[in-house]
Symmetry: D2
Subunit: 294 residues, 4 copies
């Protein structure tokens, strides 16, 4: 019955910003506003309803602006991802979400454009210079309703078999503020929590359950309609909130607020994320050469 | 700065139902609630912000219910369309909207499944029994931003060349009430008004501008976020409403409320409409034979 | 440098039909021609270049014929699949191939429409009657070029984690004869061999490598252009064949022959296979109730 | 019963290159091989089975090569298109073909990425500098089987209404040689002939029927299987050819040869054509600014 957000910085805003047990700084890099939030104590984690760890929030230009592949802002974004990654070793990139439901399709759309390289080996790789590429594997997990398998369960099976040193999980998020839709990227080292994502992932996907570091990258693509209504009406009363929830979720159908052109939003965000993930992973190759491979 | 709805019955609800110059009846046909609204006077048309004419509103079962192609409810829906059509002559079916923007894709998706028959003629048609089919032409108009051509202008060109006796225009609508999304069909003989549809069509498409009867068929696929906010806050004050509009349309981006599974909603609605349009048009052929042709 | 076919019955045709170590019968069931081929000896397996086991080949009506979901021919097809399945236990359905390459998209397109039920359990399942459904899990493996993971490796990981009693693997095939494209289904209990499928799968996926029975279901969607050329020219000479291969594979690009409307072929075949797999798996539920769930 | 090709240069090759009434030159521009063929007499037109006029054939690098948007080769291609266009006035760009049939989808896919500007006018255009853009309108005609309207008929209606000074028609072609698939662009001022294109367009679309210059741009996406068979077997005998046609077109289904990755071929070709059409049309704007608009 609460306002719902997957962004740590929005939880902080809700709480009044003056919270013990967190570190918070903000700066501009290449013109991009970047906020760094670190949750240091269990108490703060409880208050913010987010696990302890780092949360980096990068604000992209509005949708109408075009960003070239070689833009220094993409470089800045990739730099933030790189910082949370181990320096060496195979990385598994997982696209979470349902590709057939537009606002939930960010994960699979972004992962599909990440360069898989784990299978490029041996003499051929050496002679073509592709042995400079870092080993990367990519999976789209699908969603439990379509596979009958929990996302975490599927990923555990893959991890057991290919033994990556870290995982990057890409997922669509819900935020509280409409202006963030498609324009904010949250990067964290805390994985995916239950209830997070547009599709309400059910099982925790983090270093505890996966056995390796899990970097989560997400972009808000929807505002939950109930959350918008609560915010508009500034509701706190328990009884009122039940009634309002009912009216904004007729027959229990979950309603979301998105820009009309949600398809374009998803496509742009997926492109930017795949690009910066590729750059963060492949550091021994020129940007130009990397773009040629994609 | 007003609540926005493309449904005549919702304008009536807003006005308090006790309006002069309209006829209103409701009934159940094959289990489907059907409302018939007729606007008889210019004064009533002004009040309801809709042209004079007939508006038939059919309430479909919720999305979770499955409807078979041979369901008597599809027959009932097709019967409502048939009543507004001329008995004979070529019919042009036009899909309005942008197929690349999910909530606006209803028109092109529905029109794509309507059986085009105008080109099936002569000896071949006779020998295969297809000469029983009524002549139908189908166009997807695209949207002005992609074509550089006003929808109405494009349709006028087509109509001049193929001279149909009537047009059916299918379009996605905006309603006020979330529970209607994907579950209500409005059929009218008054065409498409400026500002109507999810894409805010700009030019009137009706019997005056097209020179032939225009039957409009629409299903609400979104609630405008500003309209939802106004309704939730029961706002009437001019100044308040300007501020609210701004906060719900950040940077002027138009926000809409939809079910998360908007893609399924569009697919189901497009299927039901194409099916009932086909049945309404092809009356000299068995339902089973018609389904085989589709 | 040889004629390529994934169909056991075509290998038999090539060899002259009079081979020791095989059993072969043919019959018509519900109007569908069905051939049953069993390879009994290692010697015969070597000759036919296919593993020992059962191969059932069902000939569907041509593409232009429409088949209803409730058609007795779909029932006959599902019956052939059912015979090769264990009676009880979880079944994993795997879609093999690249959904972005039309002639290779059969596997993922068919698997996407198979009903996943493994996650439907407990009180909810019991109260809705869904506890009658057999447990089914579904994965789309993607292709190694996109994932960096061998298909077999990925499936082993999944199997280790969810422990199914059998797997059904759906894949697009290459045949020798154009008239078979989209019209023949091969069902076998021998899994997928290296080099088979449109995408030339590289690693054996069978009961030996997976540890459980593997039922392979495939439909030919292409004829290899080199194979067609060899057949047309009746080439046997080694030197001639090298030159011909080169001319039909310019710059080493692999060329295939398909009907122009290959997209429709894939969609129809994927629909028929998913339908018959669903019927083969869910035997404790009416066809009508099953169709409502899909 | 003949070898089929939509490329004038291939007809010339078939005839032995020593033909009266044609002019032929070839050169390299920015590394791209360009052939210029002009048919000057009715007799030559009859021999080559192509109308009198100019045919420019540009050979692109193979599919595996990546071409950047700013590549000088794209500029060279756009220059060839520009030469055949009138200097001023509205241009209509028409995508011919069926977007749902992969090898026929080139036209609609390319046209969808051409910048429509005809509707951008007045004060807004002036203040944003968009008044420098040449007026362009874009239509996708669909195919007669889906619309019931002949492509030419539809275009005549549009032309009557918006009165462009020229039309560019983009269409998928059939060639004789496999190595050309996706790698050759033919630009001509003679429009589209009956029987041309992958979908076998039925009505002439040229300056005679449309009343304005028609520039046709096409890329071969298939080799007709019958043509390949004839070429392989070097068949000339009438009787033999009938039998062969039958065996390569089972049940009259038209078979085509394409690279397996036909989807990528179409996407790359559509991208290159839309890019060079945009550059050919918008000459008063920098390439960089143009790319930002797309």
């Amino acid at each position: 019955m609460e306002r719902r957000t997957d962004l740590a910085v929005e939880e902080r805003e809700l709480l009044g910003e003056d919270i013990k047990g967190i570190e918070y700084t903000s700066e501009k890099v290449e013109g991009l506003p970047i906020e760094r939030l670190r949750i240091l104590t269990k108490r703060a984690a409880q208050l913010l309803k987010k696990p302890m760890g780092h949360y980096v929030t990068v604000e992209l230009p509005p949708l109408t602006d075009s960003i070239r592949d070689t833009d220094s802002r993409v470089q800045a974004l990739s730099e933030e991802i790189r910082r949370l990654l181990p320096v060496n070793g195979l990385v598994l990139v997982a696209g979470l979400g349902n590709v057939e439901i537009t606002p939930d399709a960010l994960g699979p759309k972004a992962a599909s454009k990440v360069l898989a390289t784990r299978h490029i080996r041996g003499e051929v790789a050496r002679s073509t210079g592709l042995d400079r590429l870092r080993a990367v594997a990519v999976v789209n997990t699908g969603v439990t309703g379509q596979t009958g398998i929990e996302t975490g369960e599927l990923l555990q099976g893959v991890i057991k078999n290919i033994r990556p040193s870290a995982m990057i999980a890409v997922d669509a998020l819900a935020s509280r503020r409409l202006e963030r839709l498609g324009c904010t990227v949250q990067i964290s080292d805390t994985g995916i929590s239950p209830g997070a994502g547009v599709g309400n992932r059910r099982v925790r996907i983090d270093s505890d359950t996966m056995g390796i570091p899990v970097i989560a990258i997400g972009v808000p693509t929807v505002v939950d309609a109930v959350t918008l209504a609560f915010d508009l009406l500034e509701i706190d009363d328990e009884k009122e909130s039940v009634e309002l929830s009912r009216s904004v979720s007729p027959q229990g159908r979950s309603m979301v607020v998105t820009p009309k052109e949600v398809d374009l939003l998803i496509d742009r965000a997926a492109h930017l994320i795949s690009l910066s993930v590729n750059m963060a992973l492949q550091t021994d190759i020129d940007t130009e050469d990397l773009l040629d491979l994609l």
